[in-house]
């Protein structure tokens, strides 16, 4: 018998709001959380804007030692995991620990802490032979991003399979796919998974500046992220986390859990083309979408919403438009396709899970979040991008797509009716 995987808990740390409720308030109202960078002096950079989280770890419930030990990305993950666990109503202490797993995606791991500590041990870049006597005890945990998954595992008492998934900007979708795979194959019954990233630091800004990937619209940060718009000129860096409780369907049903949706399809492909470039035909992303829809047994015409990668770079939005047309055919133009990066920026590995969270909330509320800042659509991005304001419509089957450096192309399909308790179709 095939094991099915559902999501029964949700937790979010996002720009514009901590917690799923505040997050949805941002998306449903089309508010943008992009602004001038406040966490350090970014005046020397080409792109000086980002979507930052107003995150205070003490208020979010972390202890002083946790705050000292964990990188900001791990802190986000821990707080989002706590919310997801509480939201699921599942008593983790009563679960057999070896049947609980963890799958956390992150593109750049503990970058912020690594850079902060590098500055110390190198004495501001002066010493190539870095001085180990100035290293903090947890330095190795910053080196290896498996520490982020370990922190989540300790929190929820997981002793089954525990992994960090790090496929760049598709990490957040791939971690969802990995979580579902662990349950489907029988390696776990419950997985806490999702993704986190906190990349807003000088080295990240510098490397995206160097390839002109980020938007230099510094004079208008609130309207800088413009997916599908003719005037788009790069993505706006973001940060945040979304974590979920994944559960085997019967396990969830037996306890009468609220089910957000079923993870009905997941597929990933590689473009085998270029580490940062994309071919304009979007063939591999289209293949991933087709494969994910096939698994979910969802026809293109049955999709109620596509949550696009929509990063707002010239190249991506053309690539993605082609991929959606190739995979959805005649239904490409009639299906709502929006990019929430217009509001919360691009948080690298975290964004895929933040987008899955947006899909779950769209299903629950019957509301498709808009593409903000879309006043002048690029004629070459000629799909229904839900400009500026959210749209009320029943949302039962959704597709979320992702694309990233390294050539990764991923697609997740979620199904369900969103609101009814345990009410998935047989």
């Amino acid at each position: 018998m095939t094991r099915r995987v559902v999501i029964t808990g949700l937790g979010v740390v996002a720009p514009g709001g901590i917690g799923a409720k505040a997050y949805w308030d941002v998306l449903a109202n089309g508010r943008t959380a992009t602004r001038a960078i406040s966490s350090f002096d970014a005046s020397r950079y080409r792109s000086r804007i980002a979507a930052e989280c107003d995150f205070r770890p003490e208020e979010a419930g972390l202890t002083p030692q946790e705050i000292r030990r964990m990188d900001r990305a791990a802190q986000f993950a821990a707080v989002a995991a706590d919310e997801a666990v509480a939201d699921s109503g599942l008593l983790f202490a009563d679960l057999p620990p070896h049947r609980t797993g963890v799958s956390v995606g992150t593109a750049v791991g503990c970058t912020t802490s690594l850079e902060r500590e590098y500055v110390v041990v190198s004495d501001g870049g002066r010493q190539t032979l870095t001085d180990h006597r100035y290293g903090v005890p947890h330095l190795y945990d910053y080196l290896v991003p498996s520490s982020v998954a370990a922190e989540v595992a300790w929190r929820v008492g997981a002793e089954g399979p525990v992994n960090t998934v790090s496929t760049g900007c598709t990490s957040g979708l791939d971690a969802v796919g990995h979580a579902a795979a662990l349950i489907r194959e029988g390696s776990a019954d419950v997985v806490v998974g999702g993704a986190t990233d906190a990349p807003i630091s000088p080295i990240t800004l510098a490397c995206f500046d160097a390839i002109r990937a980020t938007s230099p619209r510094n004079d208008d940060p609130a309207h800088a992220s413009r997916p599908f718009d003719r005037s788009r000129n790069g993505f706006v860096l973001g940060e945040g986390a979304a974590l979920f409780v994944f559960e085997e369907l019967e396990h969830a049903r037996r306890r009468g859990a609220h089910i957000y949706a079923e993870v009905a399809g997941f597929a990933t492909r590689s473009n085998a083309y270029h580490m940062t470039g994309l071919r304009s035909d979007g063939a591999e992303l289209a293949q991933a979408v087709t494969a994910a829809l096939g698994q979910a047994r969802v026809a293109p015409g049955d999709l109620d919403y596509v949550n696009a990668h929509g990063s707002g770079t010239k190249q991506n939005d053309l690539h993605e438009t082609a991929a959606i047309k190739a995979s959805l055919g005649e239904h490409a133009r009639t299906t709502p396709v929006s990019s929430i990066k217009s509001m919360i920026g691009h948080s690298l590995g975290a964004i895929g899970s933040l987008e899955v969270a947006a899909c779950l909330l769209a299903m629950r509320h019957g509301l498709v979040p808009p593409t903000a800042n879309l006043h002048d659509p690029d004629p070459k991005c000629d799909l229904d991008h839900v400009p500026l304001t959210a749209r009320e419509t029943p949302v039962r089957s959704v597709l979320s797509t992702g694309s990233g450096f390294g050539g990764f192309q991923s697609a997740v399909v979620l199904t369900g009716n969103g609101t009814e308790k345990g009410g998935l179709a047989q």
Binding site: T130, S146, P161, S166, A206, C207
Partner: protein, 429 residues
């Protein structure tokens, strides 16, 4: 059974999951005691260690000064010039290992250039040497001096991305991070993709962070040996165990469905028969470590009673408490002195995500040649461990089932069972 290249089923969450056997048809090794699979294997059987004083930078000021470096590696001899400015040292090693594995498998464009061929690697620390150089540029000169390649040269997904591009592989790809345990988890994830419908996967792990900044981070664990004697620094299971030596390198494998491999006339080294991963309870918990559960899980997955296991390639932490915990897990499953145990990584140092895949390669070569390679630097294991540690000369014994163990910092455990092929593969001439 898998149908090979049916793209609509090439997925880990597919409902059409099969239990088709995954076989290893190609091996590529880059190790401190041998660049190239047969070079490594010959050195390992000779008991030749690659552990020596660091040469990449002057280690005099650090408390740990020995490492397993891949010496004599000239990247321009292996890779096109255009790849050199954009790759960290560990990616160059990984691309070289992948080339060797693909060549060994005899896989060509027909097998590689499809949506059914993917790449799954493990990474522990990314391209750290590249990262240190760019951090230094940023902080000593200014942000405009940071390389355009920094955006991908250091991140954890780089080896998978570069291998897929170099080999034209457009199928399902992934990157798993679980410190030293991640290498086995990546191979298990590749097997998962084959079960979901992929036909060929390039998988494994290669790591290196032997730059001053990476070294500083590794020293922070307090687990590196501070000995300056290459023969005494890393002595797993001995009563002299005093820490481990870090190394660089690893192995890349070509994994295929058995039917796809046999259909094209490839010769399998063996199959991935079972895997399980577990995570230790939090520090201070009353429950013990979960390594035993990983072993039992992998054996169950392989449908393999403990008595069928012919050899165990140990994680071999080289620390008294961790060695004792591993020995205890082995005793509980196999009985005291119940199975030959070996740790050829005593000759390479611990290779992080490269360690597990290199042990898989070693076990497969051991199947082929009817031999168990020894644990170097150890004459007699601590008798308290009560394990049958293979030391000194290689042990000439036919092995058909091997268990490979790996543990990662923070509590990661991974166990994988390999089986020899039905028709034994003879040594290459």
């Amino acid at each position: 059974m898998s149908t090979g290249r049916t793209d609509s089923t090439t997925d880990t969450t597919g409902t059409g999951s099969t239990t088709g056997t995954a076989v290893v048809t190609g091996i590529g090794v880059v190790a401190p005691n041998g660049l190239g699979t047969e070079e490594y294997w010959a050195a390992t059987l000779r008991g030749e260690s690659g552990i020596r004083r660091l040469t990449r930078f002057d280690p005099a000021q650090y408390p740990s000064r020995l490492a397993g470096e891949v010496l004599g590696f000239d990247p321009s001899a292996h890779l096109p010039d255009r790849l050199l400015p954009q790759t960290d040292h560990m990616t160059r090693l990984a691309l070289t290992a992948a080339d060797l594995a693909v060549l060994d498998a005899g896989a060509g464009p027909e097998e590689l250039h499809t949506l059914g061929a993917g790449v799954v690697t493990a990474s522990a620390s990314g391209g750290f040497e590249f990262g240190q150089r760019e951090l230094e540029n940023l902080w000593s000169k200014g942000n405009e001096y940071v390389s355009a390649y920094q955006s991908f040269a250091w991140f954890y997904a780089v080896n998978t991305g570069q291998i897929s591009i170099r080999n034209g592989m457009r199928g399902p790809s992934g990157v798993i991070v679980a410190d030293q345990a991640g290498g086995l988890d990546a191979v298990a994830h590749a097997r998962r993709q084959l079960r979901g419908g992929a036909s060929l996967m390039v998988t494994g792990g290669v790591d290196s962070s032997l730059c001053p900044w990476g070294w500083t981070a590794q020293i922070a664990t307090g687990l590196l040996s501070t000995s300056d004697d290459p023969a005494r620094a890393y002595t797993p299971f001995a009563d002299t165990a005093n820490g481990y030596v870090a190394g660089e390198g690893g192995a890349i494998l070509v994994l295929e469905t058995e039917e796809a491999a046999l259909a094209r006339g490839a010769r399998p080294y063996g199959s991935v028969a079972g895997h399980a991963a577990t995570f230790d309870p939090p520090p201070g918990s009353s429950r013990g470590p979960a390594l035993r559960a990983a072993i039992l899980g992998a054996l169950a997955d392989a449908d393999c009673p403990p008595g069928d296991v012919d050899v165990v390639y140990a994680d071999a932490a080289g620390l008294p408490d961790k060695d004792a915990a591993e020995a205890a897990a082995l005793r509980e499953v196999f009985g005291p002195h119940g199975v030959p145990v070996t740790a050829p990584k005593s000759m390479t140092g611990r290779l992080y995500s490269g360690g597990g895949p290199l042990d898989l390669a070693t076990a497969l070569l051991g199947f082929r040649d009817g031999v168990i390679p020894p644990t170097a630097n150890v004459t007699l294991p601590d008798p308290a461990h009560r394990i049958d540690l293979v030391t000194g000369e290689p042990r000439a014994v036919a092995t058909r089932t091997a268990l490979v163990l790996a543990r990662g910092h923070g509590g990661f455990n991974s166990a994988m069972v390999l089986r020899a092929p039905a028709a034994p593969r003879t040594p290459s001439p």
